[in-house]
């Protein structure tokens, strides 16, 4: 097998897939850092975002990238709503209660998607797109958009966290919620902000998965495990770690076919997750929470 073939058929799909995982993993890592629980409805929120974009695409005939902001805003609103309606009441209870509640939310969100949009496979654009040839590298436009948008969104988020007042408040609450409260940070607003960001990123992950493959009601659920593996691999609470983790999980899944029978590809994320938890539970970039 030639070098170009390795890049074209194993590494590039891995990077694209990894970018999608990264978008989801950043949300997971933020929720984990600030609210201190694993949010299992993350994958299904991504599904919801993808289908919201589909609604815009079919209703207005816009390209999916234009529908992306609408889907992000819509999903962010839903995420905030879910927090207000369900998680807020459980804030003072043991965290495991909220984790289980989020599993219930996952089922509810998926059912809503199935009731509204049905259970068939859908796609944003009918037909197939053959890749362009860049000096032997076979890349599709949508793959470039996916990676560029991921880097852009995460870059903006990172700037926001480091430079802005509210970003600093979020980091403070992640470091020590009680101290943050004492120094006058409005915890409720920080929580809301967290959900807005997590919801928006979820929708982006879903839309890009939809652009690169198809939309199915189970699409987000299938992504949940790789996204968690990515968040833990990078170090829980570290945004840049989640991106790194996402890319590693994505590329590792694709490359695994070279050495393992292909039916074990789906187990790759499990293996990475187990290995990291055993060897270095703090993650590659030394997470702040675990």
């Amino acid at each position: 097998m030639g070098f170009l073939e390795l890049i074209n058929f194993y590494v590039i799909p891995g990077v694209v897939l990894g970018s999608i995982y990264a978008l989801g993993a950043v949300g997971i890592t933020l929720v984990f850092a600030i609210l201190r629980y694993a949010h299992l409805a993350h994958g299904d929120l991504a599904t919801l975002g993808a289908f919201l974009a589909l609604a815009v695409v079919t209703a207005l005939g816009l390209p999916p990238l234009v529908a992306l902001p609408v889907a992000m805003i819509g999903t962010a609103a839903v995420a905030v709503g879910i927090d207000k309606a369900f998680y807020e009441h459980l804030r003072e209870r043991p965290k495991i209660v909220t984790v289980m509640a989020s599993l219930g939310i996952a089922l509810m969100v998926r059912s809503v998607v199935q009731v509204v949009w049905g259970v068939d496979s859908e796609s944003y654009v009918r037909g197939i797109v053959r890749p362009e040839n860049y000096f032997g590298l076979r890349i599709k436009d949508r793959e470039i958009y996916t990676v560029v948008f991921m880097i852009g969104l995460v870059g903006v988020l990172q700037l926001f966290l480091v430079k802005s007042k509210w970003g600093k408040a979020m980091r403070a609450m992640s470091d020590n919620p009680n101290l943050a409260l004492l120094s006058g940070i409005d915890n409720k607003k920080v929580v809301m902000l967290t959900w807005i960001i997590a919801g928006g990123l979820c929708a982006a992950a879903g839309v890009f998965l939809g652009i690169n493959t198809e939309l199915k009601s189970m699409m987000g659920w299938h992504m949940l495990l790789p996204m968690f593996a990515a968040a833990i691999l990078g170090g829980v609470g570290r945004v840049e770690g989640a991106v790194l983790g996402g890319l590693i999980v994505g590329i590792a899944e694709e490359l695994s076919v070279l050495v393992l029978p292909s039916e074990y590809k789906a187990a790759m994320a499990f293996v990475i997750l187990l290995f990291m938890l055993l060897v270095r539970p703090t993650g590659l970039l030394r997470g702040k929470v675990l």
């Binding site: 074209n8 070279l258 292909s262």
Partner: protein, 400 residues
């Protein structure tokens, strides 16, 4: 806020009470299908075909002492877990007399093994095609109106060889359906001195299969045989194989003969795609069914509608014959379709009911075939290879 919750809860209670009242004294047959999951696009027409049979029963005097026959729909999600859950609910909560389904082989095996065989409930699957189902130790309670994939895999291999496909790669979904079909195909294709240049299973639900495809293509075959579902992973694989030019020609099993690839990829891109599927033999029964199903607003060419209808109608006959005794359904099922007795065509419920009451032997001639079950509860079948034409799938050649 609280009063609102109470109002909603009260409303729900009232609704279930109403539903309960009308359902009293009905005879129930479970319709367990892959409503969600990878065969979601096929399931609605399969379920509506089965409901048509029940509707005919109810229009022509009902079952037993004029009771209503009701189809209770359950979702197997096309996986073993879902199949078991849906069957448990149908058997233990709804108290069904028999079950049509589940639709997918894995769901059939799981539901039969853990629920219906211990409970002694007869199941007839219209689309569970895995060869594994033949060997199930089922106390004669598991039947199917669709032929085993052992036949389909072999017929497809012979037909492809005749059509000049000599070197192929096979990608199959890692479940009971994919494995059974792929193994049967591989055995026969190699026996016909064809070359399998790649043979790999894949998991459902991943976003990218390009590395799998690259691996399969490295064997040098120009044809990819996909044993998967056209609404699920099969669509993703077909799309990525087309987009990246890994293969020139594509062949699918019955699971790929779904409208999803045509709708999502466009017929113009599927000129080199063919799919095999069981077809009903031309018969009076098939014509009668086609008329009735068209009149009910269905598409009789949709996949597995004939087998679904037959499964439902035969179970209704069997329940009638057994006098409502659940344990007697499986023996009655064999009696109403063993090739001896007065012929009953699809929809002839009134006639059948009278004959059963008089103690005359009847023989159901189904839309999909005569359904004279062998010892394992299987039926033989006929297949055709389909290509994509201007109006969807068109028969290309009969398969032998």
């Amino acid at each position: 806020m609280k009063s609102k919750f109470i109002a909603i809860a009260g409303g729900l209670l009232a609704a279930t009470a109403l539903a309960g009242a009308t359902a009293k004294a009905d005879v129930k047959i479970g319709l367990i299908g892959g409503v969600s999951g990878p065969i979601a696009a096929m399931a609605p027409s399969m379920i509506s075909a089965a409901q048509l049979a029940f509707q005919q029963v109810n229009e022509q005097g009902g079952i037993l002492d004029g009771e209503k026959l009701v189809g209770v729909v359950g979702d197997s999600a096309c996986n073993p877990q879902g199949g078991t859950d849906a069957a448990t609910k149908a058997v233990n909560i709804e108290g069904v007399s028999a079950i049509v389904g589940p639709h997918c082989s894995g769901a059939v095996l799981a539901a039969a093994g853990s629920v219906t065989i211990p409970a002694g409930i007869t199941v007839v699957t219209p689309s569970g095609t895995s060869p594994e189902i033949t060997g199930l130790d089922d106390k004669d309670t598991v039947f199917r109106t669709v032929p085993s994939d052992d036949y389909q895999g072999r017929a497809l291999a012979r037909t492809l060889k005749e059509k000049g496909y000599n070197k192929v790669a096979v990608a199959y979904i890692n479940n009971d359906y994919g494995t059974g079909l792929a193994d049967a195909f591989k055995a026969e294709f190699e026996a016909q001195s064809g070359e399998i240049a790649g043979f790999a299973a894949h998991e459902d639900g991943k976003a990218s299969y390009r590395s799998n495809l690259a691996e399969l293509a490295s064997g040098g075959a120009d044809t990819l045989v996909i044993f998967d579902y056209g609404d699920g992973t099969g669509l993703t694989i077909l799309r990525q194989a087309l987009e990246n030019g890994f293969f020139e020609k594509f062949v699918g099993g019955d699971g790929m003969k779904s409208d999803a690839p045509i709708n999502e990829l466009g017929a113009e891109n599927l000129a080199t795609f063919v799919a095999s599927s069981p077809v009903g033999e031309k018969s009076d029964s098939l014509d009668v069914f086609n008329e009735a199903y068209k009149a009910a607003g269905g598409d009789p060419d949709a996949i597995f509608v004939t087998t679904s209808y037959d499964a439902a109608f035969m179970l209704a006959l069997a329940v009638e014959k057994a006098g409502g005794d659940k344990a007697g359904v499986s023996a009655a099922l064999r009696e109403i379709s063993n090739g001896e007795g007065e012929a009953i065509l699809p929809g002839e419920w009134e006639k059948a009911k009278k004959l059963i009451a008089a103690g005359t032997a009847i023989d159901y001639k189904g839309a999909a075939g005569d359904h004279n079950f062998d010892a394992a509860g299987d039926v033989p079948g006929t297949y055709a290879l389909f290509e994509v034409g201007a109006d969807g799938f068109e028969v290309m050649v009969e398969m032998k």
